[in-house]
């Protein structure tokens, strides 16, 4: 009983921000349902959830990165590269096991590259990952040779569209990833170290925290989650296009910030990230259905980011502002 309450209070307890997001999601659903007759169908609900899978996984990693005072603007293209690797394995008629592990593996590898640049090379995360974004974009182009990978075999699709005890595999994977990240963040020394680094790297170092190790590991974890996202992407679409993942980083950062994670680091909400992802995908899907061209989607995302950060600055809720004042 106690354990259940503890679980409720911890893993899924809601703060003001999270309640507002939930209300915003419901409100958006009602508005779109009224505006479009095609909106409130079970088919469309599944589409929205389906479209949220990659962003949920990547958002969990981005939450860790931002909480640590880091960021990764190349994450969408990292998913693209992992997807290409998976596509190549499938195209070569590789075995299903290899197809399943190659995504997370490539993700981990690219996470190591990012960490090498940002953590070992001490390049600020925003600059380092922007540089990698440029490199990876060209890599995607070269690897695809200007052509889509398309008509890939349904090997992964059959595996990942299945259900276990009536629960779809994607839901199981996302729930497991959420729980694992939550436990790491709130119940292990790693989580404390990550938040301490997000608050102040120098203070964390003085406290005896292995700053380099924690930062390195977090970029790798984010890479692995992105590799899993790539696996779902390929399983669903069975193709890899040139522009793969080009708006994912923006969407992920927007969802994480919407969810109440501090852009300055030191504070985060995993549940907020999940709700932020859902709100974003509900808005994008709804706007499309009421006839707004998909061209406008990044505008919505951008406006949401600016709106949230502007609102926080104005209402003086910029995370840590309170602490900085107390310190001064």
């Amino acid at each position: 009983m106690n354990a259940v309450r503890q679980f409720r209070n911890g893993v899924i307890s809601m703060n003001g921000r999270e309640w507002s997001l939930l209300v915003a999601c419901l409100l958006a659903i009602v508005v779109f349902a009224v505006a479009s007759p095609h909106y409130a169908t079970s088919g469309n609900a599944i589409t929205v959830l389906r479209n949220s899978v990659e962003l949920l996984l990547i958002g969990l990693g981005m939450t860790l990165l931002l909480a640590m005072g880091g960021i990764d603007v190349s994450i969408g293209i990292v998913m693209g590269l992992a997807a290409i690797a998976i596509g190549r394995v499938l195209g070569a008629d590789g075995n299903p096991l290899l197809a399943l592990v190659v995504g997370p593996l490539v993700g981990a590898l690219l996470g190591c590259v990012t960490a090498a640049v940002v953590v070992l090379g001490r390049v600020p995360a925003i600059v380092g990952t922007l540089g990698l974004l440029g490199v990876y974009r060209t890599a995607v182009f070269v690897l695809l040779g200007g052509q889509w990978l398309s008509g890939l075999p349904a090997t992964l699709t059959n595996l990942l569209a299945a259900s276990v005890l009536g629960i779809p595999v994607p839901a199981l994977v996302i729930a497991s990833a959420y729980l694992a990240v939550w436990l790491a963040l709130r119940r292990t020394p790693y989580g404390l170290h990550l938040l301490a680094i997000g608050n102040s790297e120098e203070k964390a170092r003085l406290s005896g925290i292995p700053v380099v190790k924690v930062r390195f590991m977090t970029f790798v974890v984010s890479g692995v989650l992105t590799g899993i996202a790539a696996t779902f992407y390929v399983a669903t679409y069975r193709n890899v296009e040139m522009s793969i993942g080009s708006t994912l980083a923006l969407d992920a950062i927007a969802a994480v910030i919407l969810g109440g994670t501090s852009i300055l680091g030191g504070r985060c909400s995993l549940l907020g990230t999940v709700l932020g992802v859902l709100l974003l995908r509900i808005l994008q899907n709804g706007l499309l259905l009421i006839g707004v061209p998909s061209l406008w989607q990044p505008v919505v995302t951008g406006v949401l980011i600016i709106g949230v950060l502007g609102f926080e600055a104005i209402s003086n809720r910029l995370p840590l502002a309170r602490f900085q004042r107390a310190r001064a």
Binding site: R187, T188, P189, L195, L206, G208, L320
Partner: protein, 256 residues
């Protein structure tokens, strides 16, 4: 006389072209409160950061109980029994008191090879420490950023106590404190020494220093210019040592 807990020999620290410390020899003894005095920028904080493993020395060596040590991180120093309360406190404002007290050396249990925090035990230990310190903190779960200066100092001291340190270093621990809290911290330094701990105290308040210190060391422009037993010197002499008006200091600075 027993062997000192820690001996610093010929310690120097250069930041680029700037020489923050040169040729410092110092012995730190268990059961003794050693006060480190000196003007702003004299090198006090730099010296204790070397003891704390936060900076590697550019030159010289540290010897703990007869064996030379080289700290590559604050964790190494902590492992050798050195706890430091930094001038800038080094607390994580976004974490709770218990989390701060244990940060970097958490109590954990391993489940399937994954280290999980023992949150209840850490909390209980911290409650006990806070009680021992007589620190009144209403909500131990609150983030440290919401505490007052004195309360933060108490948290930093808890951190040091919790380490069961052999040497506790405090860099201007009373600078931000009101009278009552200052008294508590001073009493605590004496209690630590009585327990057999070595204490290094940095302070700009000379009367405070005379209240608690057994020995007084004066730094000036990165050099150790004087060392006195507290019982064998007085307020005026210490002031003249700090300002450089003392004949000994003048003589020393002429030869250098």
């Amino acid at each position: 006389m027993t062997e000192p807990f820690l001996v610093a020999r010929n310690i120097a620290k250069r930041f680029g072209a700037l020489t923050a410390l040169a040729d410092v020899d110092l012995e730190i003894r268990s059961g003794e409160v050693l006060a480190l005095l000196g003007d702003n920028g004299a090198g006090k904080s730099t010296f204790i950061k070397i003891l704390a493993g936060a900076h590697p020395p550019s030159d010289g060596e540290l010897v703990i109980e007869g064996s030379p040590v080289a700290f590559s991180s604050p964790k190494d120093a902590a492992a050798s029994g050195i706890a430091t309360i930094f001038q800038e406190l080094a607390l994580s404002e976004n974490l709770s008191i218990a989390e701060n007290v244990f940060l970097g050396r958490e109590l954990k249990r391993s489940i399937f090879g994954i280290p999980f925090l023992k949150r209840k035990e850490m909390r209980q230990r911290v409650d006990g420490l806070l009680q021992e310190l007589d620190a009144h903190i209403s909500d131990p779960e609150a983030p440290v950023g919401s505490l007052s200066g004195g309360q933060r100092q108490a948290v930093a001291i808890c951190r040091a106590l919790n380490l069961n340190a052999r040497l506790v270093i405090m860099d201007e621990p009373t600078a931000a404190l009101a009278v009552a809290e200052t008294r508590k911290v001073l009493a605590l330094t004496r209690r630590l020494a009585a327990r057999g701990c070595a204490v290094v105290l940095i302070s700009h308040n000379i009367s405070e220093v005379f209240e608690v210190a057994d020995r007084i060391v004066v730094f000036r422009r990165g050099r150790k210019v004087a060392e006195r037993l507290a019982a064998e010197t007085n307020h005026e002499e210490v002031v003249s040592l700090i300002t450089g008006a003392h004949p000994d200091v003048r003589a020393l600075e002429k030869t250098n």
